[in-house]
Structures are given as structure tokens and as C-alpha cells.
């Protein structure tokens, strides 16, 4: 499996701070009386990997869906790659891609057929070569001509990742990218995502329950709880603030409301300076 996509992620590209890949301003989503996302604001710098953490029902998937334009916000604004979503979606959808456990690839079609169709939808010019390249990178060759529905969970995840990378996206949105994978495959997927980001200077936003994954992969972590941003910083800063050595312990503190674990020099007030009450952008 070739993870070497190249070098120089271009993280310090001029304009990265002034023109974020994603800009979310006072985003709110109401489902009848339920406030799924509650006045969330953040900016994500180009070329960074950001983790969206939170328990079930925290609002991660809804936030990502609103960024993609699959769900309309009740109020607030989303800008993706400089364009207003969903009004200007047609200008950016070809430059981004996503993977989610809430969607599948057509099961009766072979992996090659599925990649061909999505490649054509995204107008990939060198499609045959691109599929061969992805098959080599993601180790798909053994089952490239097998029906997608007959693959194992790990194989399906790799195929979904291949679909997400087919158009060499500048922005990749991932919802639980390593769910149901064995540790070896999950580690390999993380390695591939990191290599892709470095090679292409792509921006990645991922929602995950896997704390180790976020610790290893992300420059920045946004923790959500009940639709609001609970904390927003680098993994190291967050762990230091909660006096914890792992993000999993931080997650449990947040989930169980143990805010007394916060260190005295960086209390809840300072964390909110970084989070929902301010549009925080972390340089990569």
C-alpha cells in the first residue's frame, strides 16, 4: 500500500488564514423542538485536519451535513472554499467529497463500475488511470471487479475512501471514517488520510468517536455536546486544560459534565474564547 502521495502539504500557503476552507457562522439547526445544532461558529484553515468530537446526538453529523449542503440550516451561514452553501454549491461540490456511514455505494455494481460512475460525475479526465492509481494506493485490486455488496466491512470502507478521493478533493468531509474497522486497517486508513493531506494540501474535517484517531491525526479538535461547541483547541492544549493524558478521558469529562477537571489557569472562560462564542481559526 503506497501511502506516499508526495511531500510539502503547503500548510503555510499564503492566504490560508485569511481565506479559510470552511467558515461556519452562528449555525443553528432545529428539528421541530429539538435543537440539533445550537449557534455554532468556527473557521477551519486550509490544509489542516480537524476532528469533530462528541457523543451520540452531539450534532456532529448534522454540522457536517450542513457544511455539505445536504441539510439546510435553520439559521446561520456556511462558506466552503470561499462559496456560500448551499446557494453556491454547484461551484464547490466538484472540489470536495465525503464519506459517511449514512450512505452506501450501490451494492450490485462492482467496485470498478462504482468508481467509474462517480469519476464521471466528478468529470475526472484521466479516469482509468485514476482508478488504477487508487486501486494500487488503497489495495483494491483483489476485489476491483467484485460486487460492492459482497465486500467485508474493511474492504467497503476502503472503497468508500476511494470514492471520496476519486476527484482529488481539496476538502474532504469524513463521518466516522474508521468505524467497524480492525485496528490494523483503521491505522492504515489514518496513515493514508494523513499522507493525502500532506501530498495535496487538502483540508480534512472528520467526525469521530475514536479518540486515538483524533489524537494521532488532528491538528485541532472541536468538542461538541448537545449541539454546542464545548471546547476547541489542539489535542495537546485540550488535554493540558483538562489535566488529562488522553483525549478519551477528556471526552468522558465533557460527556459526564466533570468540568472541575479543568486546570485553574485555563478555565471554562478561556475555552469558550476558542469555541462557539468566537470564530476561532487554528493555524496549521
Amino acid at each position: 500500500m503506497n501511502q506516499n502521495e508526495g511531500t510539502s502539504p503547503g500548510l503555510s500557503a499564503p492566504g490560508a488564514m485569511t481565506s479559510p476552507a470552511i467558515e461556519v457562522v452562528h449555525l443553528t439547526k432545529l428539528y421541530k423542538a429539538t435543537r440539533a445544532v445550537d449557534d455554532v461558529s468556527f473557521r477551519i484553515a486550509g490544509g489542516s485536519i480537524t476532528g469533530l468530537l462528541g457523543g451520540n446526538g452531539a450534532g456532529k453529523t448534522t454540522t457536517i451535513a450542513m457544511i455539505m449542503g445536504l441539510v439546510l440550516a435553520t439559521s446561520g451561514q456556511v462558506r466552503v472554499l470561499g462559496h456560500q452553501m448551499p446557494e453556491q454549491a454547484a461551484r464547490v461540490l466538484g472540489r470536495m467529497n465525503f464519506e459517511s456511514p449514512y450512505v452506501d455505494m450501490p451494492m450490485r455494481l462492482t467496485v470498478r463500475q462504482n468508481l467509474t460512475i462517480f469519476g464521471r460525475l466528478y468529470a475526472v479526465a484521466d479516469l482509468r488511470e485514476r482508478i488504477a492509481e487508487l486501486a494500487a494506493d488503497l489495495d483494491l485490486n483483489d476485489f476491483l471487479d467484485r460486487a460492492s455488496g459482497k465486500l467485508s466491512a474493511g474492504q467497503k470502507t476502503r472503497v468508500a475512501l476511494a470514492k471520496a478521493l476519486i476527484n482529488r478533493p481539496e476538502l474532504l468531509l469524513l463521518d466516522e471514517p474508521t468505524a467497524s474497522l480492525d485496528p490494523d486497517t483503521a491505522d492504515w486508513v489514518r496513515g493514508h488520510l494523513d499522507a493525502y493531506r500532506k501530498a495535496r494540501g487538502a483540508t480534512i474535517l472528520l467526525a469521530s468517536h475514536n479518540m486515538l484517531e483524533v489524537e494521532r491525526l488532528c491538528d485541532r479538535v472541536i468538542i461538541m455536546k448537545r449541539g454546542r461547541i464545548e471546547d476547541d483547541d489542539s489535542p495537546a492544549q485540550i488535554m493540558a486544560r483538562y489535566n488529562r493524558t488522553t483525549l478519551e478521558d477528556v471526552f468522558l469529562d465533557v460527556a459526564r459534565g466533570r468540568t472541575n477537571a479543568l486546570s485553574s489557569e485555563a478555565g471554562p472562560g478561556s475555552r469558550h474564547d476558542n469555541a462557539s462564542n468566537k470564530s476561532g481559526e487554528v493555524a496549521s
Binding site: G69, L70, A90, L93, P106, R120
Partner: protein, 275 residues
């Protein structure tokens, strides 16, 4: 900008995206012989049943002896209407069943391109079902459906436009309400069947119901077919009126689809697509 060579800009309709979707449904048809069989099975059963009925009636009733083929012709035209809508809607349902709608809606594929691909596939599916059906009508019952000639084009276009208009609207309902609304796809056409006057003239209906019947384009087609087969007159006026109503129906159904799609985005149902 990504280094992917983009052959079409963000504006306008892109043929390569429509082609990609047609290819997706074509792959699906080829991968599943039960799907192919289903396309041929019901039209064949229909034409054989109604063909023998027509033969029996023609031997015993003077009118049907004169108007040879009205029943068989009506069955085939009804199947164009019914299978046209099903062909459209089933291709749409395939996306719901496969939980693939999120992938499509997140891709550069536009709603109008998606609908155009579904229309093209309804023609492909229709051809697979109707061509053997017309062959059986010819060889078993000596009814040459294509002998209708040029008027057949007018009949076909009007029926297929109606089937697409209904297919678009029903697909929007499923998009908005999930697979719980799937049964509408299978039954909606039967709701307009009695008023479309497929097997009997409009004059049979009560006077007040005739006004309702004349709001449906298929009514014009079936009246036109009877005028052609019984009186040997092609009623251009009926076809033009049906076409005018169809234009209105297509515009209304597309607007309804966009409204239902927006409602589905508001409701969050594009991510799930279940019941």
C-alpha cells in the same frame, strides 16, 4: 482549484453527468436478470390476456369486429403510460434502496440532470418491455401496433410526458417522506386509470366527471386512438390539447420536486432515506 480536468463548468446541464447516471442504471440492469425479466414479464401477461379477450369479443360483437385492435391498442398504450412512470420511479427508488442518494446529492450532479437521466432510463426500460409485447400482439393476434403510423408518435410522446410528470412528482414525495411513501409509486397510476377512459369513451362517464377526465392528457390519447382505429380519423386537435396540458404538468411536477427536495434538505431526510 483541484487539478482534476473539469470538462464542464458549474453552470448549465452536463451531458457527461447524465451519461454517468444512465450508465449506473444500465450496469444495474445487466447485473440482475430478475430485474430484466420483470420488465418483460407483466407486459407479456397483459397482452396475452387482453389479446384473447379481444379475439373472443370480436367474434361475438359487431362493434369490436369493426374496430379491430382497440382493446389490444389500449392495453399497449396503457402500458406505455404505466411502465413509463414505473421505469422512471423504480430507477429513483434504486437510489433510495441502495442508500446512495446522499452520494449523488453531494456530487456535482444537478437535480435536473438526475431527472433527465431517470427519463432516459424510463425509455430504455419501456423499450425492453414494450417491444416484445408488440411482437406478441403482431404474431399472436395479428395487430400491428406500429401500423398506427405517425399518430403513434403523438400518442407515445403525450403518454410518456404524462408518465414523467407523475414520476417526478411521486419521486419528490418519496424523497421527502422516505421509503414509507414507496407504495405511492406502485399505485398512483391506478388512481387516474378510471378517468383516463382507456377501454371506454369519455361519453360513458357522468357529465360532471367528464370535465375531470378532460384535465388528464391520457384521456385525449385514448380518445384519439379510438377515433383512429374505429373512424380512421387522426384527431390532431386532441393531441395538441394533451401536449399543452403535459407542458403544464411537467413544469408543475418539476417545481414540486424542487420544493420537496428543499423540504427534504430542511428535514434532514437525504442522509437517511429509510422509512
Amino acid at each position: 482549484m483541484s487539478d482534476v480536468a473539469v470538462r464542464a463548468g458549474s453552470r448549465g446541464i452536463a451531458l457527461h453527468r447524465i451519461g454517468a447516471m444512465i450508465l449506473r442504471y444500465w450496469y444495474l440492469l445487466l447485473s440482475s436478470w430478475p430485474r430484466l425479466l420483470e420488465l418483460v414479464y407483466w407486459p407479456t401477461v397483459q397482452i396475452i390476456t387482453w389479446g384473447f379477450l379481444q379475439t373472443y369479443i370480436a367474434q361475438n360483437a359487431g362493434f369490436f369486429a369493426r374496430a379491430g385492435g382497440t382493446l389490444i391498442g389500449a392495453v399497449i398504450l396503457w402500458d406505455i403510460l404505466f411502465r413509463g412512470q414505473l421505469g422512471f420511479s423504480i430507477s429513483f427508488l434504486e437510489e433510495m434502496w441502495a442508500r446512495n442518494l446522499g452520494n449523488l446529492m453531494m456530487s456535482p450532479l444537478k437535480p435536473i440532470e438526475f431527472l433527465l437521466a431517470l427519463m432516459a432510463m424510463s425509455l430504455v426500460r419501456l423499450a425492453i418491455g414494450i417491444i416484445p409485447m408488440t411482437g406478441i400482439a403482431l404474431f399472436l393476434f395479428h395487430f400491428n401496433f406500429y401500423g398506427i403510423g405517425l399518430p403513434l408518435i403523438a400518442f407515445f410522446c403525450n403518454l410518456i410526458f404524462t408518465s414523467w410528470a407523475i414520476g417526478i412528482f411521486v419521486s419528490g414525495l418519496v424523497l421527502r417522506n422516505g421509503l414509507g411513501a414507496e407504495s405511492i409509486v406502485w399505485t398512483v397510476m391506478f388512481a387516474i386509470m378510471p378517468l383516463s377512459c382507456i377501454y371506454y369513451p369519455v361519453s360513458v362517464l357522468p357529465h360532471w366527471l367528464q370535465f375531470v377526465a378532460w384535465t388528464l392528457p391520457p384521456t385525449y390519447v385514448f380518445e384519439g386512438m379510438r377515433a383512429l382505429l374505429v373512424d380512421q380519423v387522426f384527431r390532431v386537435d386532441l393531441m395538441l390539447e394533451a401536449a399543452a396540458i403535459n407542458v403544464g404538468l411537467l413544469i408543475a411536477s418539476f417545481a414540486a420536486f424542487l420544493a420537496l427536495l428543499r423540504s427534504a434538505r430542511r428535514n434532514g431526510s437525504l442522509l437517511g432515506g429509510g422509512e
